[in-house]
Symmetry: C2
Subunit: 419 residues, 2 copies
């Protein structure tokens, strides 16, 4: 029986044209983040199933690829549950593995630790256009830094990388804080039990609009709380003035310094930033992951729906491994999203090397081949990309194909002198 | 219960010091192979279990991490066999996935196709020093090229990359052909059934020496065949003269042109090569993988046991997917082996950027922080790596740690002017 040509469901073979863009993106990211002192690390694609199912991953935990136990003959007679069969799974993100890594290697790492991770993650999502079951994430995280410096540097570094990648495209960073979200809901009188439902509704603002949110909040817990809640948002600006104006209403509902801290982050970023982007306070920004404990941020790009980057502070995750909390804050670039944007806009990489193709006729004398290969070596030494290839029967078609790959110069070699 | 800090058995957390060397290696490899016209591709880490268990992988098929089926509730009552539970597994090498990739995407790929793959593979081997269950392979392959050009370019490109990586280290490329191995065994009178056992014994030459090989071959099928076989090796040189001298003995046992083809490969490589390495014909070179059909090669480095690269021609694998054979030849660099060699020799990367650390005292005024961040941005723009960090209580220890990370310049900022 013939072997199966197609890859497994929902996983993609990456073709050369896309790989060129991916490699280009990775180089820019590594260089930009490297200049801020972030250092690359790598964790295994597999993690203990206990860690993966520890409720850090929200809905992603339903999408885990589980790996069959190894090392002993599996006893299949007595299996009651999937989890009797597995002890590991493929990671669904890079944040949980980072927290484990930091806990495991803390003694060998600088403090604070600035990590850059670019790696594949796995989610058994329903396959659809642009969504794959193996995809690349690209995260920077600062661990062990409790002050605003973490947020400020993450925003400066990520916006710089995005500016380098998508030159000339306008983007907006929206920022909020989980503690402000909580305080606003408490101010309106929502019970602790209901708060996560309030956030789920608020998060739909983009899709269902203010009227839709009002309708669902009223259904959730009556008109009075809904109006008190929505009135808080009314007339808020998207700059730091909004934070000042919230100060009175939220007094008693919010920790000292949270609003001022967010103002400081915004003011410092606006002062220092070299790239052109907008920075907005967005009290409706929720972000899904349950592990966030403070600031949250998201970046959108003009002309493209959804976000191209996102992140926030998660000060409680590392403590789940070590028993003592460590401040942590991260920003993730939507690597696959940006690849799709660049591929769709027929983005061309600025080529540094000249691409030259040597085509030689079949059955050429081996001395001639030797001299062709020597000439190719010399041109490579001078910084060119040189492809040596036999001439195909349909030379025109072959050259057109090579031109598509970026070859701009051709040299042809024939059996007897030059035909 | 606390989460588990250690990674899964046999899989490694890669620390920043090692990642710097890995990234450096990957850059050299991509640049060198790129200059020969190899293009990067990527295949998913997961493959259909049917493909993985198709006998292309030899003993590696015993080491597969199998992935539990997704998408339907598993029926655990009626499970008779592991394979009722799984439909995919993690790849154990990059060659089988490449053959699938080529079969799946042939219409979109150039012909011949020169592929570069750098990716992780998975084998549930017994963990031991330097051997991990997730590790990186680095392969180049030329698909669709039947002529010697494939072998010649693979050897030239791989030796160039190795010279760039391990500057000043001497290495030796040994080369043989499966068809010569077969012909020599047939000449000695070994039956087809016994030939793979003969190869297994011959392959132990390094470990058990000529006397050991003689003893085992005699045990296998008597003294007469053993002596006739070993006499063939006696007095063979390690250059192309050996191939000429084998011509008479092997007549009738070997296809026309095999010995001449290997001579041509060796002569052309020796003529064209720019880097300093030895190229030797080695009639005892076997290589384990069953899928090789022609030339095989291996590279060893002075002062290190085992090989640092290896490969060969496998013209029959793609046909298992497509139904029609496609010539294929590949060379794999022992990425992890080289990392170990470089780490053990305290290899230092030639640093291009200056690394500067700004340390500021806790609770510094936010205006001062802004000016520090601006200064850092300016220095980054000029090509430096600038780390901005709070001063730790033990500043001396902090600076020593930063020096180990390569920071050579420090600037300190205090709360009130300069203390």
């Amino acid at each position: 029986m013939a072997l199966i040509k197609k890859g497994v469901t929902g996983m993609k073979d990456i073709l050369p044209e896309e790989m060129i863009i991916r490699d280009y993106l990775i180089n820019i990211i590594k260089k930009t983040y490297g200049s801020f002192g972030f250092t690359s690390i790598e964790t295994p694609a597999m993690e203990h199933i206990e860690n993966l199912l520890s409720k850090q991953g929200g809905d992603n935990e339903k999408l885990i690829f589980k790996v069959l136990k190894r090392g002993e003959k599996l006893k299949l007679d007595n299996v009651k549950d999937e989890n009797d069969l597995v002890d590991a799974g493929l990671r669904y993100d890079l944040t949980l593995p980072l927290a484990r890594y930091y806990s495991n290697n803390q003694a060998s790492l600088p403090n604070p630790f600035k990590a850059l991770q670019i790696g594949n993650v796995y989610r058994a999502d329903r396959p659809q256009k642009g969504r794959f079951r193996q995809f690349t994430q690209c995260d920077i995280d600062i661990l062990g830094e409790a002050s605003n410096l973490a947020e400020i540097e993450l925003i400066l570094a990520t916006t710089k990388a995005l500016s380098e990648i998508a030159k000339g495209k306008k983007f907006t960073v929206r920022i909020n804080d989980r503690r402000i979200l909580l305080a606003m809901a408490r101010y309106a009188g929502y019970s602790e039990d209901n708060i996560s439902n309030v956030f789920i509704i608020l998060d739909k603002m983009d899709k269902i609009g203010l009227d839709g949110v009002r309708k669902e909040l009223t259904e959730l817990d009556g008109e009075e709380k809904c109006e008190k809640y929505l009135n808080l948002f009314d007339g808020l600006s998207n700059d730091t003035k909004a934070l000042t104006s919230l100060k009175d209403s939220l007094a008693g509902f919010i920790e000292e310094g949270v609003l001022e801290g967010l103002s400081e982050i915004m003011n410092t970023v606006l002062d220092v930033k070299e790239n052109d982007f907008s920075l907005e306070f967005d009290p409706t920004l929720v972000r899904g992951m349950g592990y966030y404990t403070g600031t949250i941020f998201e970046v959108s790009m003009e002309g493209f729906s959804g976000s191209v980057a996102g992140g926030g502070r998660y000060d409680k995750m590392i403590g789940k491994f070590t028993g003592s909390d460590t401040p942590a804050c991260g920003f993730s670039i939507g690597f696959e999203r940006i690849i799709t944007i660049l591929m769709d806009s027929e983005f061309k990489i600025p080529d540094e090397s000249k691409k030259i193709a040597f085509l030689y006729e079949k059955n050429i004398d081996s001395n001639v081949l030797t001299s062709i290969l020597k000439e190719a070596a010399t041109l490579r030494e001078a910084g060119n990309i040189v492809l040596v290839s036999k001439m195909n029967k349909n030379k025109k078609f072959q050259k057109e194909g090579l031109e598509k790959q970026g070859y701009i110069e051709f040299k042809e070699f024939y059996r007897e002198a030059l035909k």
